[in-house]
Amino acid sequence: MLKRTLLATAALGLGLAFAGGANAMDKVKACFVYVGPVGDGGWTFQHDQGRLDVIAAFGDKVDASTFQENVPEGADAERVLTQMALGGCNIIFTTSFGYMDATNAVAAKFPDVKFEHATGYKRDSANVSTYNARFYEGRAVTGTIAGRMTKSNKIGYIGSFPIPEVIQGINASFIHAKKVNPDVTMSIVWAYTWFDPAKEADAAKALIEQGVDVILQHTDSTAPLAEAAKTPGVIGFGQASDMAEYKPSPRVSAIIDNWGPYYVERIGALLDGTYEQKDTWAGIGGGEVKIGDITEAVPAEVKAEAEALAASIGDGSYHPFTGPLNKQDGSPWLADGVVANDGELAGMMFYVEGIVGDIPQ
């Protein structure tokens, strides 16, 4: 019991030092917890780019030098978060879904430290906010390019794990590929890993051997692009980061996770005293999802079409999941003109009509 009191006192002490949440602050210490190494070239790399944006935006007013790579989920995450909170961090960004329970548990003990959890849905205390990006918006754009570019009418998708975020991407890609090319079919390979370059390369190869000539991926390495580069006529897209080294082909465009604007906004709000708890799910419009430069390997009219689609998604005039849409079994999902609501998307565990195969359960 003594120790718990101590912990509470320490938290209280920090709280007093910074005098509550809503007031303006002179200096903010922002800390980051990463699930992989910064050198992964994908997910964690992009979060770290966001951290560097914060340093560039605020200079001396923000100390964003503290981050921790390779933090396993569970007990280790809880300890790292506690150490960061004790160490004087004012705002902590936890950048993986698996940190959800640890973030909420530690946040409850440190009411005056702000916690920002990426891709989760739990906000048990007032100091926990969540943020995510509408990657499916970007997938709609790459799906359109894929549908236009495929000559074999077969596109392939390398999935990591069958979770809603990945399923959203598969559906969005397929819907928009089909829209511009009704003959298109999609083969899906589940790698059961977020990151295993050799396996991803094999998956890409397997797809190419099945006649696929456009590869979409939701795993983090550039291996599928490198594999695509070996077969003339096969294209793919950068995932998470721009993967510009494979320009102009096979990488014809990319879906870039761009966390900088959100990090700058939240830390800015903390500095000027306007910070509030919230759940952010921004996409192309909010700048969190960026479409990487569409290269000259794509015909100008396809490029224009894709850019127009991105613009209409960005300004809110079009939603990638707009009815009429049926589920895989043919049952109606969205009626004509109806837009999917966020709750439905967040828990999406079904394919839309036309996709072959079952979601692994």
């Binding site: 050198g39 790399f45 589940w190 370059p197 094999d202 998956a203 051997e209």
Partner: protein, 311 residues
């Protein structure tokens, strides 16, 4: 061309030959190490050191062949630590090997800072000319880079050396009974040192193959457990070089096959497909080990034991 469930066997064989190279090379190196009576569990660490050293060398020199040399040197350099600890200081081999993996993973990541997102110089395929155009067989056998053929050559060479040469005899003698070998006047620790270096170099080559040809790029943790599979392949092969080839092709083949089955829209649930390479490897080993005479499967008698000449 025949098709099985939408899969072309010639293309499947072509891909499994490429997919198996890293584990085959690493397993072959480890086989020689274990034949000499040393158990080095640090294959994963040596592979990833080979991957980064090979990558850096290739990028710096612009020459992929030098890259492979660099990879072999990197793997061998790391194995030297293992050799010094276990052969000179008689440290426990299992623990030293595991520590080697830990150290190699860390060191490779440090060395690789600044090498993310760079493309290494490309290694071309061997120009077989008209042979490539033979239907089926051309694609299957004559469309690969030189490392694919080199790895098969090394298997054959290792098999020959171990079975028919004096060097092979000495290595086996040291692995079966170091005391007897010592009594015959062989320098047990020196022979083992050479074997460990060979094992490190081969693991390094396997790692370099991943970062220079298979993937080709550098990212932290790029070997993603291939070293562990290589260790298992040695056991699977019952310490016989030719069976390393079979084991690596079997494992690589099933891995490729399960992805191909998925891509072809097979009805087998994905979650079972994804564990199939491991289960089938176990199954085949069980069949092999229960069918044959027990002695044929035995590991080198002195495996894992350190040798110290008492006088």
């Amino acid at each position: 061309m025949m098709d099985f469930g939408g899969i072309n066997p010639a293309i499947l064989i072509a891909s499994l030959m490429v997919a198996s190279v890293p584990i085959m090379l690493a397993a072959l190196g480890e086989l020689v190490v274990e034949k000499s009576g040393v158990l080095n569990l640090g294959v994963e660490g040596m592979m990833i050191m080979g991957a980064i050293c090979g990558f850096i060398t290739a990028v710096k020199t612009g020459n992929p062949y030098l890259g492979f040399l660099g990879g072999a040197a990197g793997g061998a350099a790391l194995s030297l630590i293992f050799a010094f600890l276990t052969q000179s200081l008689l440290a426990n081999q299992v623990a030293t090997g595991l520590a080697l993996t830990m150290f190699g993973l860390g060191l490779s990541s440090l060395m690789g800072q600044g090498y993310n997102g760079i493309k290494p110089p490309l290694t071309g395929v061997v120009p077989f000319g008209p042979l490539r155009d033979i239907p089926g067989i051309g694609r299957m056998l004559f469309s690969h880079d030189w490392m694919v053929y080199f790895s098969i050559g090394v298997v054959a060479a290792t098999w020959y050396v171990l079975k028919y040469t004096r060097t092979g005899l000495i290595i086996r003698a040291v692995g079966e009974s170091h005391d007897a070998a010592h009594a015959l006047g062989y320098k047990v620790n020196r022979i083992r040192l050479m074997c460990i270096l060979f094992g490190g170099a081969m693991a390094g080559l396997g790692g370099a193959y991943i970062s220079l040809i298979r993937v080709p790029q550098w990212t932290d943790g790029i070997t993603a457990g291939a070293g562990w599979i290589a260790l298992a392949i040695v056991v699977f092969a019952s310490w016989k070089p030719l069976r390393v080839l079979i084991g690596a092709y079997l494992f690589g083949g099933i891995t490729v096959l399960q992805l191909n089955l998925q891509a072809a829209g097979s009805a087998i649930p994905v979650e079972y497909l994804s564990m199939s390479p491991y289960l089938i490897t176990i199954l085949v080993l069980v069949i092999m080990s229960s069918g044959k005479g027990r002695t044929a499967l035995n590991a080198p008698a002195a495996l894992g034991q350190n040798f110290h000449a008492s006088r």
